[in-house]
């Protein structure tokens, strides 16, 4: 086949215009190779007279006008693993290894663009996935094949909790995990890599990274590259754990990209296509008849504003919503879940069963009542409460303390050994506190402990 060849005529930042003859334009989203340059161009739009508007994936410095561009004949592709070929490896957006461990064992490559599974292909599991983290298992249980979002502002512990979930689920399950690092700090990815190595689970994990030092075009596509790999594995009948850090950065890369392409912005400068960008990615993270993808996604909340358009656009895609709050963190309640704001569609009588459901709702109601009493307590003191309310306050405080937990991830940091608590033990603990067994026990006896 004769390759389509064009010439750069315009460069403006990362936007590059390439002129082809009118009859032989490369298809949209195909990659173009530029002579004497490592940088690849992605075709985004067509303009008049056989001109393609492209986005440079990588540094645009050094691209010259008149340089010859050649259509590679494909869009971004990633290797398609049969099972083991990619395990333990770190890949970039193009599916190339960046861990210095040599070539990848599979030659077969697939485009990162794929339609989401159809209605009839999809499948819902109604089985709860235990995480070993008390507050999560109780309040926002995860579904196998479900989608979980960890929301939180800067520095409230999203990445820590995500790493803990990788630890508890991926380490125990021995299934395959795919981790997508999108627009986050390379330092964090590096720490995770070492953590995985130390715990000997790297061999079951694939990392796909496009961190914040990369250009927006790369960051945006990294999420798709990672999803494509997860999809390949799912279609090979695997149950895949898919972790993304961070969906907000994905949305933001889309915003940068749109601004560069000169698209008109919407509210707060976000791209007009914000919801559909997120939708296109999220709809592909799905469980089918063949296999499952259970995804845990960290979502940065800019300026702690939960009404931010990117956050609002992400909510409807998730089954379990874990909200991390600055206030809880400041009080030392780790993991810093805002229990009243977190929720899960799995916390349903049909799914978790009557006992779990009852305990969880009762715990929530105690905490809600306690919150209502806060005002009175801070002005008049706990002594002024009625006998009944005092019991509510006592139990609520004990419940909140009991729902803290030392994490494996922060062992070095806090000096406390991490613990894994089974759902049964969590329920039992809550039940006993609700029954008043611990009303007179010192609060510190319940704080940062495992099971009672």
């Amino acid at each position: 086949m004769k390759k389509t060849i064009g010439k750069i005529i315009e460069v403006s930042g990362p936007i590059v215009k390439v002129e082809f003859g009118e009859k032989k334009l490369p298809p949209l989203y195909n990659l173009l190779k530029v002579e004497n340059s490592q940088t690849l161009l992605e075709v985004e739009e067509y303009e008049s007279l056989g001109i393609c508007k492209c986005l440079a994936l990588g540094l645009a410095e050094g691209l010259e006008r008149g340089a010859i561009c050649q259509d590679t004949g494909d869009s971004i592709t990633v290797p398609e693993p049969r099972r083991k070929e990619l395990l333990g490896r770190i890949l970039d957006v193009f599916g190339k290894p960046i861990d210095g461990k040599g070539k990848i064992a599979t030659k077969k490559k697939v485009s990162i663009f794929k339609s989401p599974p159809s209605f009839s292909e999809q499948k819902c599991h109604l089985k709860v996935l235990e995480t070993g983290i008390k507050v999560i298992d109780l309040i926002c249980p995860f579904l196998k094949g479900g989608k979980i979002g960890l929301f939180g502002g800067a520095g409230v512990g999203k990445t820590v909790l995500l790493t803990e979930l990788i630890h508890n689920i991926a380490f125990k399950k021995k299934g395959i995990s795919v981790f997508a690092g999108v627009g986050e700090r390379t330092r964090e990815a590096q720490e995770l890599y070492q953590e995985l190595q130390r715990n000997n689970v790297l061999k079951n994990t694939i990392l796909v990274l496009g961190e914040m030092g990369e250009s927006p075009g790369i960051r945006f596509r990294t999420a798709f590259s990672a999803v494509r790999i997860a999809e390949s594995l799912r279609d090979k009948k695997e149950d895949v754990m898919f972790f993304i850090d961070n969906i907000y950065r994905f949305a933001m890369a889309g915003m940068e990209r749109a601004a560069m392409l000169g698209k008109l912005p919407q509210e707060l400068g976000y791209q007009a296509t914000l919801s559909s960008d997120i939708g296109k990615l999220e709809d592909r993270i799905a469980t089918t008849q063949k296999g499952s993808i259970t995804s845990v996604q960290a979502i940065y909340v800019p300026a702690d504003d939960f009404t931010d358009p990117a956050i609002v656009a992400t909510f409807p895609h998730l089954d379990s919503i874990v909200v991390l709050s600055r206030q809880e963190a400041a009080q030392g309640h780790y993991p810093a879940l805002d229990i009243l704001k977190s929720s899960s569609s799995a916390l349903d009588l049909e799914i978790v069963g009557e006992r779990h459901y009852k305990i969880a709702t009762e715990v929530k109601s105690y905490l809600q009542k306690y919150q209502d009493l806060q005002h009175i307590i801070s002005i008049l003191g706990i002594e002024e409460l009625s006998q009944k309310d005092r019991i509510v306050a006592k139990r609520a405080e004990r419940l909140r303390r009991f729902l803290t937990q030392p994490l494996f991830t922060t062992e070095v940091f806090s000096g406390k050994k991490g613990v894994y608590v089974s759902l049964g033990k969590t329920l039992e603990g809550c039940e006993r506190i609700l029954n008043g067994e611990f009303d007179e026990v010192d609060l510190s006896k319940l704080y940062m402990k495992g099971e009672i």
Binding site: G13, L59, R65, P216, G415
Partner: protein
């Protein structure tokens, strides 16, 4: 391909339009984005190309450049030559103790320094496998930071706050406290007198021989101001590759963002939120990702970055501050209210964070500072109760008092730095109740006496602590010394 290149170097274009600082050039078909071109003796950098259609069939190609100096000597019709090179700056040991501009020229003498090596100012950050873990302390000598928000070598910690809240003096102190670290102070869009004043301070404290000041003043062309942090980072990378640990300070990136916005608007690049161009996050992300710790295979040296960000009316939820917060490994937030209340350094303890945290602390300091955070969080809860004069338990009262003493200890004058051993011992004394009976107003007086007492009479305890950490005999020894001290004062 080679043939093409040689030809293209002889390309001559001409200036067709000048709209300072942007010049529009016609007739350099092969010029690259980011390439330096010469207009007579003046240098300009190419940022953008366009093709303009006169009719549907005829068009002309143009390049847009930004002059590194004011374009007042350039006229339309002037010849433009290609250099074929991307912007490079000279790098070398010679720059130590100098004040230079972003192109590596000595500002004091106005001359270019003779160095052999040059380096491109835009580089890719170290890849994941080239990096190591941030695990060593970069002590600032500022108590509240070393205790609560420790900074590690290779960390990026944002310093943010309104104007006049002590941001610059905080980073200056951090530079003054360095002994085995090369520091680079990058000033962006400041007044000349401000930089001169800082230069005098650095000279006075004798840190100049391990310091480079890279400065683009507010009156310099915007391109120079835009280049300044990239030059500073390039220089930092040079020293890092020599095996040194480097501290680089950007004062400040809010101004840098504004300069970039100015340039992009003049170049007619479409604006986004708050009229910033779409790549504003990437601009700072790719700059700050170049800082970090290298793996042992790569030499293990590091670049620590302390970018400064100015907020308006204490709003840390604005666009540029939130961008920077999400790039860096934590932030120190300085607050006007605290500054007015004379709690200086005015660090807001609730909103500041270090994501490396205790990993970046010396062990002996780490062991005592864990208790401090607990004390301060209790203090916050108790404060309301105390203000309402509610009765609280004895234990709570005691904790409250200790936290008050601690907050008093965290007050610190400019340039009066405290080493981590002194810090560890004083926190130990507070946590174990040896200072409970001191009136908070007297605390700082006693603190000073205490450090002198340790230095003059009991030097050995500090040495023991450094050597052995908080093992039991050292603990007992330190307790004895504190009691001895309290008996005198």
């Amino acid at each position: 391909m080679k043939r093409l290149k040689n030809v293209s170097l002889k390309e001559i274009g001409q200036v067709v339009e000048i709209s300072p600082p942007v010049i529009k050039i016609e007739g350099l078909p092969g010029v690259k984005s980011g390439e330096v071109v010469l207009v007579g003796k003046e240098k300009a950098i190419i940022f953008k190309f366009t093709r303009e259609f006169t009719t549907t069939l005829f068009y002309q190609d143009f390049a847009y450049g930004l002059c590194l100096e004011s374009p007042k000597n350039i006229k339309t019709g002037d010849k433009v030559e290609r250099t074929g090179e991307l912007l490079k700056i000279p790098v070398g040991e010679k720059f130590l103790s100098r004040v230079i501009d972003p192109l590596g020229r000595d500002i004091e003498t106005g001359k270019e320094l003779k160095v052999k090596e040059t380096s491109e100012i835009e580089k890719l950050p170290p890849q994941i496998i080239e990096r190591g873990l941030v695990r060593e302390a970069l002590e600032t000598g500022i108590k509240v930071i070393d205790a609560l928000f420790p900074i590690g070598r290779g960390q990026r910690e944002l310093i943010l706050g309104d104007r006049k809240t002590g941001k610059t003096s905080l980073v200056v102190d951090a530079i003054l406290n360095q002994k085995d670290v090369i520091s680079i102070y990058c000033s962006i869009g400041q007044r000349k007198s401000e930089v001169l004043q800082l230069d005098n301070i650095f000279r006075k404290f004798g840190v100049k021989k391990q310091l480079v000041i890279v400065s683009a003043f507010s009156s310099d062309p915007p391109v120079l101001q835009y280049l300044a942090p990239f030059s500073a980072m390039t220089l930092a990378e040079f020293f890092r590759d020599q095996g040194k640990d480097v501290l680089v300070v950007f004062d400040d990136l809010t101004k840098h963002a504004k300069v970039w916005r100015q340039i992009c608007l003049l170049l007619e690049i479409p604006p986004g939120r708050e009229a910033y161009p779409g790549d504003i996050f990437y601009l700072h992300a790719r700059l700050l990702e170049r800082a970090g710790k290298l793996s042992d295979d790569k030499g293990g040296s590091s670049i620590t970055a302390l970018p400064i960000c100015e907020t308006k009316e204490g709003d840390i939820t604005e666009y540029i501050p939130t961008n920077l917060i999400s790039i860096t490994d934590g932030q120190i937030y300085l607050e006007t209210d605290l500054f007015q209340k004379a709690q200086i350094p005015a660090v807001n303890i609730g909103l500041s964070v270090s994501r490396i945290g205790a990993f970046a602390q010396r062990k002996y300091l780490r062991e005592v500072t864990g208790g401090l955070k607990l004390l301060l969080s209790q203090h916050k809860e108790l404060k309301k109760l105390v203000q309402l004069e509610t009765e609280v338990s004895k234990a709570a009262q005691r904790a409250y008092k200790r936290a008050e003493i601690l907050l008093e200890i965290f007050k610190q004058e400019k340039h009066k730095l405290v080493d981590s051993l002194d810090q560890s011992i004083i926190y130990f004394a507070i946590l174990n109740g040896f200072f409970d009976d001191i009136n908070p107003e007297k605390v700082r007086e006693i603190e000073t006496k205490f450090y002198r007492f340790l230095d003059d009479i009991h030097k050995e305890v500090k040495l023991d602590l450094k050597k052995f950490g908080w093992i039991k005999p050292v603990k007992e020894e330190i307790k004895k010394v504190i009691i001895e001290f309290r008996n005198i004062y």
